[in-house]
């Protein structure tokens, strides 16, 4: 189990612009499909560590990126069956 925070955006454009802007910043994050528990909408969310949220939000807002919302989710760490893992990787 892990606790992650998810930033959602009004449009894909803002999601990808956020990714591009954050590349040069010292944050760990990943672009992922929006979890269904957050929104029925399709789209991409930015998953990051919760302590980084305020810094990320501030930086993105300064750069005119619109953020829909921030959601904290407990995420199950799923272990894919070995059948589907890549060769050479555990």
């Amino acid at each position: 189990m892990g606790i992650y925070c998810y930033l959602t955006f009004p449009t894909t454009y803002f999601a990808i612009r956020a990714e591009d802007l954050l590349k040069s910043r010292p944050y760990h994050f990943k672009m992922v499909p929006v979890p269904r528990s957050i929104s029925s909408s399709c789209g991409t969310a930015l998953r990051c560590l919760c302590p980084d949220v305020s810094g990320i939000k501030r930086y993105l807002t300064e750069n005119n990126v619109q953020i829909d919302g921030v959601h904290q989710l407990e995420e199950k760490v799923l272990k894919p069956p070995k059948l589907f893992t890549q060769k050479g990787k555990p």
């Binding site: 009004p10 449009t11 894909t12 454009y13 990808i16 612009r17 672009m31 029925s40 909408s41 005119n64």
Partner: protein, 390 residues
């Protein structure tokens, strides 16, 4: 008469540029074969890569145009689509619009339709016999309800470059917005939408930007809101039955031409690496070579300014006693030279130049044209004039 298959005898870059930089072909093919996720839809890696490609293309175009925010670049099918979006998305009933006689049918027809429907009024700014707009006439033509001035940045018939900064300054002084048709100039002339204070700029991807057909866009100044012409799927806020209001999705709906944008991005990258000024220098030299020698051929009349610094790489001519369509046919059938003849979708421009309704032969060398190719073309025109005198 001989044919020279090794030469680049394509003189129709004002219609669409050819050849493209090698990377453009590769990127479009690679996208179709290996990528092909639908941008903005789903969340798997391929679609995310498609989203990134679309974003990078927007960002590259914003950088080329000096637009501060990539989100203000909206993708369209071509320049015509962008101009329709600008005109129909901005204008309201009762508005008055000024435009120059050098405009293309992509401006004349949407405005003509709105005018005939009784929605707007328009005034044409006359142009001289070399394609320069009458700025005194323009200055006197602003009305209290004038909403927009449309400027063809460079004529697709004579190549004449409009005095953009002067016209924008005048329009803004009267509180009028400016739409620039940059179909013939983006990628070949330096453009700075921020520095010039341009409100709307329409461009195509398949001419000076070296992209595939079916790509183009509209720059919309920050703070300026247009009504969308199309509404539908954007991949975001799917639960809402209203189209999103945030840019650029507000003005885009449906699946984007991402294979085309993959090619367009490489075209823009090629321009950034080569430098717009280098492209401009090469094309100006070709146009100057063509102009200087073409006008010396007996029977030839060349249209547009004498100074190539005042033109993009487009030149129009007629040959006394021969229909321009016939000249185009002989140039292809006997010399393998490709060019465009006729009215070039710009009837008012031809009226200004004095070539309506017969039209002209239009030659438009591109960045990949070499001086030798121009010399071969000049030789071909000379041979045709000799044939005509027999």
């Amino acid at each position: 008469m001989t044919t020279h298959n090794t030469r680049n005898l394509y003189f129709d870059n004002a219609a669409t540029s050819w050849p493209k930089p090698e990377a453009v072909y590769g990127a479009a093919e690679q996208y179709l074969r290996l990528a092909c996720g639908n941008p903005g839809r789903s969340g798997y890696t391929r679609t995310l890569e498609a989203d990134r490609l679309v974003y990078r293309t927007r960002a590259a175009l914003a950088s080329l145009l000096n637009a501060p925010d990539p989100g203000r670049i909206v993708f369209t099918l071509n320049a015509t689509d962008a101009l329709n979006l600008a005109l129909k998305g901005l204008l309201e009933p009762g508005d008055h619009v000024l435009f120059t006689a050098m405009e293309h049918n992509s401006v004349l027809r949407p405005l003509g339709g709105l005018r005939r429907a009784g929605l707007i009024n328009t005034t044409v700014i006359p142009c001289s016999e070399i394609g320069d707009p009458d700025l005194n006439f323009m200055e006197k033509s602003f009305q209290p309800n004038t909403r927009l001035l449309v400027i063809n940045h460079a004529s697709n018939v004579s190549g004449t470059i409009a005095p953009l900064d002067e016209m924008i300054e005048s329009a803004h002084r009267h509180g009028v917005m400016v739409l620039v048709d940059a179909a013939q100039t983006v990628g070949t002339l330096p453009l700075d939408v921020t520095g010039s204070g341009i409100d709307l700029l329409a461009f195509t991807g398949h001419k000076g930007l070296f992209g595939p057909a079916g790509t183009g866009g509209l720059y919309v100044r920050g703070g300026l809101d247009l009504k969308p012409l199309r509404e539908g799927g954007t991949g975001s806020h799917s639960e809402m039955d209203l189209h999103p209001e945030t840019m650029p999705e507000r003005l885009e709906a449906g699946t984007l031409n991402s294979p085309g944008l993959a090619g367009l991005l490489e075209g823009v990258n090629f321009i950034s690496e080569t430098g717009v000024l280098s492209i401009r220098e090469h094309e100006t030299a070709l146009r100057a070579r063509l102009h200087a020698k073409l006008r010396e051929i007996p029977g030839v009349t060349v249209y547009g300014p004498a100074e190539s610094s005042r033109c993009v790489s487009v030149i129009s001519f007629t040959l006394a006693g021969i229909d321009c369509g016939e000249i185009g046919h002989i140039l292809e059938s006997s010399f393998d030279i490709l060019c465009r003849t006729g009215l070039h979708c710009a009837p008012l421009a031809h009226q200004a130049l004095g070539t309506f309704p017969q039209g002209t032969v239009r030659l438009s060398p591109g960045y990949f044209t070499q001086p030798d190719d121009v010399d071969y073309l000049l030789d071909a025109v000379t041979q045709i004039t000799l044939l005509a005198r027999r």
